[in-house]
Symmetry: C2
Subunit: 171 residues, 2 copies
């Protein structure tokens, strides 16, 4: 798909049609995350991908807003080292945001919808995903084909007016 | 450009060939940032775009690693409300990372290179960009056509082995 169409097609998709995602498409989305930049190229992000239905259902219980994970075709958990201070925490969050966006765009390019979820119960997430002490997961990216309508460029996204958000030369 | 090519072509570009970027291309990059998702669709991000050479040179002094801003064709400053606590700070940083990535991919699609810079001297940044009290800028995105070689898909990015970063079913 053309890049500009993919960027404009990504939307928050939380209901999926049940079709599996071909493994090579999951691999491409993971490669997109792997390619994402990070501060000083530290690359302190790992990805745990889950496709087993029972495991997805368990994972959907880590937060009240994670219900859509249960019916996703695959969910990618972004795992990273515990931050030592607020500055590291913000840098890590920024890098996770970059990686998440890159994966969601790669998914949209393949017609695959994506929906964020935070993590509330960190001990449950650790038990289900098996990452070691010293690591943390704050973001799940659920993936699947949209149940309602295919992805296509959104003409009028729900955003503050562009002219209010963009300042030219100064605020 | 094809999405997958744009994703693989983005690289850290800090030397620019001096050509200006057409205004409509700058607008597209800004629109990409405007379209980026945010937690609860709060959209608490503003963008200040700078193209004036003298202003770019001033802006390049806000951090030791911002030198490339001086010769960029345009630089976009991501501005957002001061966070009230560590959780808000991390959520805000995540959303800024998403917006930054989306803008960098939109730039790569147009053959335009991009390079991050942090901000060290926040008072100087505020004076140059003019954003009000209660707001903060931690990220500049410098844009320009690469001085060395055009953007093209990178076959072997400098990353940890993919098989080490990706875990299937569990860590």
């Amino acid at each position: 798909m053309d890049t500009w169409d993919a960027l404009r097609s990504r939307r928050n998709v939380r209901q999926y049609d049940g079709r599996p995602i071909p493994p090579e498409d999951i691999d491409r989305i993971l490669e997109a995350g792997w390619r994402a930049p990070s501060a000083s190229n530290k690359q302190s992000r790992d990805y745990v991908v889950v496709t087993d239905r029972q495991q997805l259902e368990e994972l959907s219980r880590v937060w009240q807003g994670a219900g859509h994970v249960a019916s996703s075709a695959a969910t990618i958990a972004v795992v990273y080292p515990e931050a030592e201070d607020e500055r590291s925490s913000a840098l890590g969050a920024f890098d996770q945001g970059q990686a998440t966006m890159q994966m969601m765009i790669a998914a949209a390019d393949l017609g695959i919808g994506s929906g964020h979820s935070a993590v509330g119960d960190h001990e449950m997430a650790r038990r289900i995903l098996g990452y070691p002490d010293g690591y943390r997961c704050d973001m799940l990216i659920a993936l699947g084909y949209p149940a309602d309508r295919p992805l296509r460029p959104i003409e009028h996204p729900n955003r503050r007016p562009l002219a209010e958000v963009v300042h030219r030369g100064g605020w």
